[in-house]
Amino acid sequence: MQLDGKFGPYGGCFVSELLIPALEEMEAAWLDARQDPVFQARLTDLLQRWAGRPTPLYRAPALSAAVGCEVYLKREDLLHGGAHKTNNTIGQALLAKRMGRTHLIAETGAGQHGVATAMAGALLGLKVKVFMGAKDVARQQPNVRRMGLFGAEVVSVHSGSRSLKDAINETLRYWTETVAESFYVFGTVAGPHPYPSIVKDFQRIIGEEIKRDLLAETQRLPTAVMACVGGGSNAMGAFAEFIGDSEVQLIGVEPGGRGLDSGEHGATLIAGRPGCVHGSISYLLQDEVGQVQEAHSISAGLDYPGVGPEHAWLKDQGRARYVSATDAEALDAFTWLCRNEGILPALESSHAVAAALASAGQWQRDDVLVINLSGRGDKDLAHAIAALDARGAGGAQ
């Protein structure tokens, strides 16, 4: 490896020796591609004309009134595919082509990363196999069907807790068996080096556009940037450009599930402690001896017991702070944004909206809060409506 992939004490490359040659090759291809104007021009062209970048930065009037400051939504929900995931999969698929790989493999939780990988594979003529926990296959059927339409094969993973962490284990196993022909398109800023850095690189365009558009419109930097955190890729994408701007608050919103005290949540940074899983050291939900625990969230995309190592380092340094929103709060924010802004957010992104609504009264009138609205909620309709109906039947508000 040319770099150690460390973020303070976090990160690194904790994988079987058998995967090291592939990761070394990937690191070299990535370092080379970042300097290659031809690669960058191709990526930019696809992001603009195929995927629809730049996405709008929208001043949300009802949300601004409710929170008590200027609230902007970064509309990644409008990106092709329905979420920020496309930024990363196009980049990694181009890297795979550059390395001569013919197959893409990927894990997926909510299915957004799987869909984005399937789209990229269809675009670039690469075969795609997506590993998805059986639990997620059941609750994200529209995305399963979409992946099929793009020609991808979806493998339902029945091992372990049958959710995202097990899908990652199974993808790592399959990759180890097929490392000569397949490229593992990792979906978030976690995993072994160089993934946290590669994914951050491909997602940082979110924050770059926020900064550029906000400066053009208001001649100032945001007071705070807020984003939901599962593995942490949309948050890292929104934060990266502002890490050096110490006056900009960075706020990550973790899934509080049924409440932090219930033990059924995915608030890794708030309630976990450092450990090693899926190739890097970061905060981890684990028992006292180090067995990884299951996460819980109403949103499959945040249902992960680990988190990207750079978030761990931002937290320890006090550069970012992490709060949580429960399933119920996220569901409230989901309906609130539909009714008041005419925008259907993903349940993942609804956590960030919930945290913004909960922060009402904590801001100066002219503060600028940017929420990264990482995805749209069409994929969540059946699941969210069932949850809302159940709530109605239970007599809750």
Binding site: M1, D4, G12, C13, F14, V15, S16, E17, L18, L19, I20, P21, S159, G160, K165, D166, I168, N169, L172, R173, T176, E177, V179, A180, G275, C276, V277, H278, G279, I281, L284, Q286, E288, V289, G290, Q291, V292
Partner: protein, 286 residues
């Protein structure tokens, strides 16, 4: 960083002694606590009675990405029985009290990390462990484990090599590895297979030239014919995991559980695998 010479220890010497007699060493693997600690003791005694030269133990882990379905299932059974790293260490100490066979561990890093890396190597050595292979610690991340092993007598770190390992990488392995070199017969995860990969001979010759430790071949070694093929390719011994664990699943678990049958199955399998190593060792350069 000054490279230290490979550490010869009880484990290395045991393999060399087998080789000196013209045989390969046989190292079976089980997950401790699969399906419970008492059964693991029965299995260990059957492995020893059948002729195992070295014992390799896994600690059950919730998320084992280097393992195929057979060993994943063993991990889950052991975890369901409440097997913790502390109980695993206690188990090893109990085995050590009965048998003087060298003991190697194959486990995942988070269990070592949460125990405390230095404390883990000290406790493992005290329990009777001779060598540790951490499945998700490649050379890049081996510093803490190497330093921890260096503080304790009689324990060393084991590393993996495959057809993908470059000569430069093997030289780095030679500088930090002890015990034996774990040569994977194919690039992949643990599991049984039909045949041993062609091209193993050239690979093992390269390993022998680069790393002055005995080379044990593992991954997919599940029948006597695989042992014969690996020995003919130049192995100093073989490792068999999934084939042993599958017999535990067949005869030690659920409605099919019958300890006498399990004991016989393990004993017979071990004896057959060991027999295939006898007289099969090829000295280097032949």
């Amino acid at each position: 960083m000054t490279p230290t010479p490979p550490l010869a220890n009880h484990l290395t010497e045991t393999i060399r002694a087998c080789n000196a007699a013209g045989d390969g060493a046989f190292m079976p693997f089980i997950v401790i606590g699969d399906p419970d600690l008492a059964t693991s003791h029965v299995v260990v005694d059957a492995l020893v009675a059948g002729g195992a030269d070295v014992l390799e133990f896994g600690f059950p882990f919730s998320d084992p990405p280097a393992d195929g379905p057979v060993i994943q299932a063993a991990d889950l059974r052991a975890l369901a029985a409440g097997t913790t790293p502390a109980r695993c260490l206690q188990f090893i100490a109990e085995v050590r009290a009965r048998h003087d066979h060298p003991i190697a561990l194959l486990l995942y890093y988070n269990l070592v990390l949460q125990h405390g890396v230095d404390r883990f190597f000290a406790d493992a050595a005290a329990a009777g462990v001779n060598a540790v292979l951490v499945a998700d610690v490649p050379l890049e991340e081996a510093g803490p484990a190497r330093d921890a092993a260096a503080k304790v007598a009689g324990i060393c770190n084991v590393f993996i090599a495959s057809e993908l390992s470059t000569d430069a990488r093997l030289a780095q392995v030679a500088a930090v590895a002890g015990g034996f070199l774990y040569a994977v017969s194919r690039v992949g995860i643990t599991g049984e297979q039909r045949d041993v990969a062609a091209g193993l001979g050239a690979q093992l010759a390269r390993f022998r030239a680069a790393v002055p430790l005995p080379t044990l071949v593992g991954f997919g070694i599940s029948q006597p014919s695989h042992v014969a093929a690996a020995m003919a390719a130049g192995a100093d011994g073989v490792i068999s995991g999934s084939a042993v664990v599958r017999r535990i699943a067949d005869h030690g678990v659920g409605t099919g559980r019958d300890l006498d049958t399990l004991r016989d199955a393990i004993h017979t399998f071990t004896a057959q695998m060991k027999a295939a190593t006898r007289g099969a060792w090829l000295p280097p350069d032949i």
